[in-house]
């Protein structure tokens, strides 16, 4: 995996969690965060100057708090709201990351977030190693962010500004 790409992905993800959902991510995961099991996942495809996927997986009971924080409400958010919030977080991470990867003047079109069920996630596990992957500690769980880039479109990748 490309270290510069990972650094760019980590920076984009942390900024998004901080600014969008007022979470305080921690880079070093504690035992509870390490052991948290997968609860929800979403994928976003993008194409244009570069083509690929960004996948965001949430492990542990972090999504309800994250969603409530985004909504600014104390109530328990619905499953639909939680999936919606997860998709929006992935969307913002992707939108913040891509200009750093391809250059500010190049255009990438980001597709709508897609909920990844168990079957899709299994096929994701069968995919080649991601170009970059990071883990971020969030309360009692963690977020896993993986970036897959189509090799044929990855000519300029690896030099984030």
């Amino acid at each position: 995996m490309n270290r510069k790409l990972e650094a760019g992905l980590y920076k984009a993800a942390v900024r998004t969690f901080e600014d969008l959902s007022l979470q305080l991510p921690n880079p070093v995961l504690n035992d509870e965060q390490h052991e948290a099991t997968l609860r929800a996942a979403v994928g976003i495809s993008f194409e244009g100057a570069i083509r690929g996927w960004l996948i965001l997986r949430m492990c542990g009971e972090v999504l309800p708090d994250l969603t409530a924080s985004m909504l600014g409400e104390d109530r328990e958010p619905s499953e639909t709201e939680q999936q919606d919030a997860l998709g929006e977080v992935a969307n913002v991470i992707c939108g913040n990351l891509l200009p750093d990867l391809v250059g500010a003047r190049k255009i990438c079109h980001i597709a709508a977030p897609l909920t990844l069920d168990a079957d899709v996630q299994k096929s994701v596990r069968d995919m080649p190693e991601p170009a970059a992957a990071v883990e971020i500690g969030l309360n009692q769980g963690r977020a896993e962010v993986m970036l897959y880039i189509d090799r044929e479109s990855s000519l300029c990748v690896g030099e984030p500004s």
């Binding site: 998004t16 600014d19 985004m70 919606d84 969307n91 891509l98 500010a104 990438c108 980001i110 709508a112």
Partner: protein, 155 residues
């Protein structure tokens, strides 16, 4: 004049706003942010989940300002803006794109259509600044009274 209201030519005006985003959570966040902006004279707030719904709302309601996401299913924000600019009734509508879009070229293209731009995630201050710039309404806090005074052109 009560706190948080605008005054122009002796009249208090309220802005009707349309929020277009395929994410219901993001629409709620935008609306929550609008309500946090001190002094913004909110009228009715309408919602739409894509550009097509947004255009329909514009036909049905009087809207002063549209806050529009770009990447949406059915009809993108870009297409919506292009279409509303071709309609004599909506061609001069104030539009702010609220998006994760990071390409300078695409942002410049939207700005050529007369749209403002706010990058997600955004702060209330940034959104406020764009709204004031684009609608032409400006205001200042009157010392002591908390009232708002404006001097901008008509919408």
């Amino acid at each position: 004049l009560s706190e948080g209201s605008y005054q122009r030519k002796g009249f208090t005006v309220a802005i009707n706003i349309l929020v277009v985003d395929d994410s219901a959570v993001m629409r709620k966040m935008v609306i929550k942010t609008l309500r946090l902006i001190r002094g913004l004279p909110l009228g009715e707030i309408y919602e739409a989940a894509n550009g097509q719904e947004g255009l329909k709302r514009l036909q049905e309601q009087w809207i002063d300002l549209a806050l529009v996401d770009i990447n949406m299913p059915v009809m993108t924000g870009e297409e919506m803006i292009q279409q509303l600019r071709q309609n004599p009734e909506t061609k001069d509508l104030a539009v702010i794109v609220v998006s994760t879009e990071g390409s300078e070229s695409r942002i410049e293209m939207l700005q050529r259509h007369g749209a403002g731009f706010v990058h997600k995630p955004f702060s209330p201050e940034l959104l406020r600044k764009q709204i004031i710039e684009l609608t032409g309404v400006s205001y200042e806090q009157e010392v002591g009274s908390g009232a708002i005074q404006s001097c901008g052109p008509d919408f």
